[in-house]
């Protein structure tokens, strides 16, 4: 049945080369942990991607209950965690995943660094990777405010002070992030929500696409 549907579509659109291009390529021996166990270090990039997928999915589902409003944000998080079936799990995935994704990203970066895999011709992909790292930190920073509890509030207060310490544009940068020159409040929460859920994920997807296209184009770096 599935084969029939596939053949029907393939006959009209010739999709085989499309997915072959993406999926059908050899994994070199030196990156295969089944050959050399130490090759598990090559898994960290894929694991970062895996956790990112969990973040995106669990985050999308959280927005079904979450409200970015200072009167209701905390209550909505409390409700989705305590009252909604499996709420604790879905929020837990997003909550712990947010830290795990940074850990994976860091291990992946260490592997690339110590293997010198960033060298010519892969310099551009290192740069894209650094941008991805900043976007991830931004997601963590903006997401942290969303539950609107005391920890969230004061962490953001401190984060905004750090932004305000930027030479020359510090104060304006803080206002741009917080939505108000002195208040961390209603406008800060809506801004952080918009940045967390729309702006940074859009940047993330664009950068990930560039990252993966470059890997396919250049291949994985050779054995040491």
């Amino acid at each position: 049945m599935l084969q029939k549907i596939y053949d029907w579509v393939d006959e009209r659109m010739d999709i085989t080369p499309l997915w072959r291009d993406i999926a059908d390529h050899e994994v070199p021996e030196h990156v295969n942990p089944a050959h050399h166990f130490s090759a598990f270090v090559y898994c960290f990039g894929g694991l970062t991607f895996f956790v990112t997928v969990i973040q995106v999915l669990s985050g999308m589902f959280l927005t079904m209950y979450y409200v970015p409003d200072i009167e209701n944000a905390w209550e909505s998080v409390y409700y989705l965690q305590k009252e909604v079936a499996h709420g604790q799990i879905v929020r837990g995935m997003h909550h712990w995943g947010a830290s795990l994704v940074i850990v994976m990203l860091f291990l992946h970066t260490l592997r690339v660094f110590f293997q010198g895999a960033y060298k010519k011709p892969r310099e551009l992909n290192w740069i894209v990777g650094v941008l991805l790292f900043f976007v991830m930190l931004g997601l963590g920073f903006t997401g942290y405010l969303l539950p609107w509890d005391n920890k969230a509030y004061f962490a953001t207060q401190v984060g905004l002070e750090i932004a305000a310490a930027t030479p020359f544009i510090g104060e304006d940068l803080r206002t741009l992030l917080a939505g108000d020159p002195s208040i961390v409040g209603a406008q800060t929460l809506t801004r952080f929500f918009a940045i967390h859920v729309f702006f940074l994920p859009a940047a993330l997807f664009g950068l990930m696409a560039a990252h993966f296209i470059m890997i396919r184009k250049q291949g994985i770096s050779g054995p040491l």
Partner: protein, 169 residues
């Protein structure tokens, strides 16, 4: 077509399409960008003064006073509590210091640490300030505590905006 300076049909189309496309992109983006940066460009609300405490209660020792102000945060209006460390210096001048640490924004306390008597102390990273609110060198804060604008009317102390004395770093 013999004149070298003549624009080819292809070039002409490229130029016009880029121009029209750029114009359309700018037309779309300009309102959105202006929308996003509005908080930066809004004129800051002029400082209002609020009654805080009878002048007679102010001593030479910093005391912490609280008062309430109406705050407008976009569409959200609320009453928020403000506070200041207030004392009279040796010349009898009133000094009202903001308790917000200039390092990363924690709240400072007066004379709370035995090993640092008569200083403001910040519990977060051990920031210290002398009585006049000037940060002690080699502690985390990089600027003195902000000073509130103040005035005294009919024996009542009124405080306005906290004015920063030099910004961080």
């Amino acid at each position: 077509m013999s004149d070298k300076k003549q624009v080819s049909r292809r070039q002409f189309l490229n130029y016009t399409l880029t121009g029209v496309g750029g114009f359309m992109a700018a037309g779309m983006l300009a309102p959105m960008v202006r929308f996003a940066i509005d908080p930066v460009l809004k004129p800051s609300a002029a400082g209002e003064f609020a009654a805080v405490v009878e002048e007679s209660e102010i001593t030479n020792e910093p005391q912490r006073f609280n008062w309430k102000v109406d705050q407008k945060d976009g569409w959200y209006e609320s009453e928020v509590e403000k506070n200041a460390w207030v004392y009279k210096d040796e010349n009898g001048e009133i000094v009202a210091l903001s308790p917000i640490c200039t390092h990363l924004g924690c709240t400072v306390d007066w004379n709370s640490q035995e090993q640092f008597p008569d200083e403001f102390y910040c519990p977060c990273h051990g920031g210290r300030y002398t009585k006049d609110g000037v940060n002690v060198p080699n502690t985390p804060p990089t600027a003195p505590l902000p000073v509130y604008e103040h005035k005294v009317e009919e024996g009542m102390l009124y405080l306005g905006q906290a004015i920063s004395r030099g910004s961080g770093i």
